[in-house]
């Protein structure tokens, strides 16, 4: 998933070195489905470029705050709303705080929210989809009815409602940062599992009828084993793609919440929050809006392209 993308990128360095000899050895190397997919992914230029850009963003937010040691909350009214300069590469905000430092720090939270919400959505979705797909009849119908119900709910008002209801109590238990993080992840993830569930169910319905499942059953694989070891690995391609795109959607959702002032508190500068703070001074300090909006834009765009590349690479018709 998104986690494997940076990993593949680091693996690219020795791969590039071997590329000279690769032409000959590539035909000899055992073509595992994973390697085949990687080969197809590499041919998708936008996805490859996006992987590089996203890797840079991820590295920047992970390592950036260690290298760019400007405090995120140092108030300096003498230099407020300054444009980009050497001391403040992305300029400063209305309190004179360094925007680069804030974006680097906030990016950790924004990306983490996106990733965790995707994980929640994927895990819930795979479980619901697998149960529905394997148990025909009323359980299946009930679960799909539930998914339809969730799909029919207007998401944004619901998000707002849940956050109004539970923000204070969760903040009390887990502290402002942890409490809100968990709530936002749970809410975004909890409202995005339906597509994954439907996808997994559809995949299972088709794969469970394949001969190799019957062969596995005939050779003594229990029902659980059939699902976990034989069906799900074959169903995973589309789920990975959907998951990637869910990361982007979750980042947007978190930004929306923060932009509406309902996500993280102002002292935690997630990208959406920074954008929210910047909107009042868009005429005098456009750099503030541009850099925070640009960060969201770039992250979401690259993730979507990677999802696109993965879809081509993991196309089940080519795997099967």
């Amino acid at each position: 998933m998104a986690g494997s993308t940076p990993a593949s990128l680091t693996a690219e360095a020795p791969g590039a070195a071997a590329a000279a000899t690769g032409a000959r050895s590539a035909s000899k190397a055992p073509s595992t489905p994973g390697r085949e997919a990687w080969r197809r992914f590499r041919r998708h230029r936008l996805a490859m470029a996006s992987s590089v850009v996203l890797a840079i963003i991820v590295l920047a937010v992970v390592l950036g705050p260690l290298l760019w040691r400007v405090p995120i909350n140092e108030i300096d009214f003498a230099s407020k709303l300054e444009g980009p300069s050497w001391t403040h590469p992305f300029g400063t905000d209305d309190l004179g705080q360094d925007i680069l430092a804030r974006l680097l720090y906030g990016g950790r939270i924004s990306l983490a929210v996106g990733f965790c919400a995707m994980l929640v959505a994927a895990v819930v979705g795979v479980m619901v989809g697998a149960i529905a797909g394997m148990s025909r009849g009323s359980v299946d119908a009930g679960l799909m009815w539930l998914a339809d119900l969730f799909l029919a709910l207007p998401q944004l008002p619901l998000l707002l409602l849940i956050i109004y209801l539970f923000r204070d109590s969760l903040t009390k238990i887990l502290g402002p940062e942890g409490g809100i993080f968990i709530m936002v992840v749970a809410v975004i993830g909890g409202l995005r599992w339906m597509q994954v569930a439907r996808l997994v169910r559809a995949q299972i319905l088709s794969i469970r009828e394949k001969e190799f499942i019957e062969a596995a059953r005939a050779l003594g694989a229990s029902r659980l084993r059939q699902v976990v070891r034989h069906i799900l690995p074959n169903a995973l391609g589309p789920v990975i793609v959907a998951g990637t795109i869910d990361v982007a959607a979750a980042i947007i959702a978190e930004s929306t919440l923060s932009f509406l002032g309902l996500g993280f508190p102002p002292d935690i500068p997630t990208w959406g929050r920074v954008l929210f703070d910047a909107k009042d001074t868009i005429d005098v300090a456009p750099h503030w809006v541009l850099f925070s909006g640009g960060a969201i834009f770039l992250a979401v765009l690259t993730i979507n392209f990677i999802g696109d590349g993965l879809r081509d690479a993991l196309d089940p018709r080519r795997v099967l």
Binding site: T32, K210, E211, E214, L219, G220, A221, R223
Partner: protein, 323 residues
């Protein structure tokens, strides 16, 4: 008396459909002794495959159900057995290979992994030992360079090779009975011969029995000791292979044998290959009498009135016909 492994008694496997009950297997008796190869023949849709799947309880329930009967495996009835008990019988006691080698292997795992998985499900083995066992099985089924091929994926094998892998998987726990459900239908003739030879070889090595389901009479003549002819969910004739080919009693069996292409007859005779006219009757409402009556050359009044019983025409030679 030889030691009986599998004894199917009056098995009825019916399927519930919107149109009514389909009596796919309608009261068959079948016995397989240790070390024996039994052929089950008949044309498409006469219940061969359903019989095979019933033995391993691979029938989807619903729509299928066992209406009556017993499947005695070494004296123990499999029908009431719970799913996890059945999982222990599968592969270790009775294994099956299917018709379609191209799609019977999971495309996302190496063949070695798949064989090792079967072994590990039934025996307590470490990863390394299971891998060794997989290599050994691939060697047994004559796959060249098994130590290297064990890490290949199914799509890197040809159809015949995949069927070998399937046999390796099925044989990996040394079952006492191998059910081969048309194992060579999807393969070309030379590969067919190789696969049949391989099964014969494996049988002698491990001392197992084979239930060979096929509609190719030539294959039966080549490999089986005893033959059961099925028609429309019923056993119509059962005999040792020589008796069946030498003196077929049931008109259906006679028709089947006449429809084998003969290479020994000269082409100049321009002999048209004989076929049995008509098709298998609907199993929704089978005719009350002999099910073959509508297609039989020798049909008489009694045939359409009551089902003739299975009677012993000669020692070991049973036939369900009034003639």
């Amino acid at each position: 008396m030889a030691d009986t492994l599998l004894d199917i008694r009056d098995l009825k496997t019916w399927f519930k459909t919107d149109d009514g009950m389909v009596r796919a297997v309608d009261g068959i008796d079948l016995r397989i002794d240790r070390g024996e190869t039994v052929g089950v023949v008949g044309e498409s849709g006469c219940g061969k495959t359903v019989t095979a799947r019933s033995v391993l309880k691979l029938i989807d329930m619903p729509p299928g159900r066992f209406e009556s009967g017993q499947i005695l495996w070494q004296g123990r009835d499999l029908i009431p057995l719970a799913a996890d008990e059945m999982d222990k019988i599968r592969a270790r006691e009775i294994a099956i290979i299917f018709q379609e080698p191209m799609t019977s292997l999971n495309p996302v795992y190496t063949v070695g992994h798949q064989i090792a998985e079967v072994v590990r499900q039934h025996e307590k083995l470490g990863h390394k030992q299971a891998r060794e066992a997989a290599i050994e099985m691939l060697r047994l089924v004559n796959i060249p360079n098994p130590a290297k091929r064990v890490d290949d994926y199914p799509h890197q094998f040809s159809g015949g090779m995949r069927q070998r892998v399937m046999i390796a998987m099925a044989m990996s726990c040394k079952p006492k009975l191998l059910i081969a459900d048309e194992p060579t239908t999807a393969l070309d003739v030379t590969i067919q011969a190789q696969i049949l030879e391989l099964m014969q070889e494996m049988k002698e090595r491990v001392g197992m029995s084979i239930m060979l389901i096929t509609h190719a009479m030539g294959v039966v003549a080549e490999t089986c000791q005893r033959v059961v002819v099925m028609y429309a969910g019923k056993v119509v004739e059962e005999a040792p292979v020589e008796a069946l080919f030498g003196n077929p009693r049931h008109p259906y069996t006679q028709g089947l044998i006449r429809s084998i292409p003969r290479v020994d007859r000269s082409a100049e005779q321009k002999h048209r290959l004989e076929a049995i006219p008509g098709t298998v009757p609907s199993l929704l409402q089978p005719p009350p009498g002999c099910r073959f009556a509508a297609r039989c050359k020798y049909v008489m009044d009694v045939c359409t009135k009551a089902m003739p019983p299975l009677k012993e025409a000669a020692p070991g030679h049973f036939v369900r016909c009034v003639l």
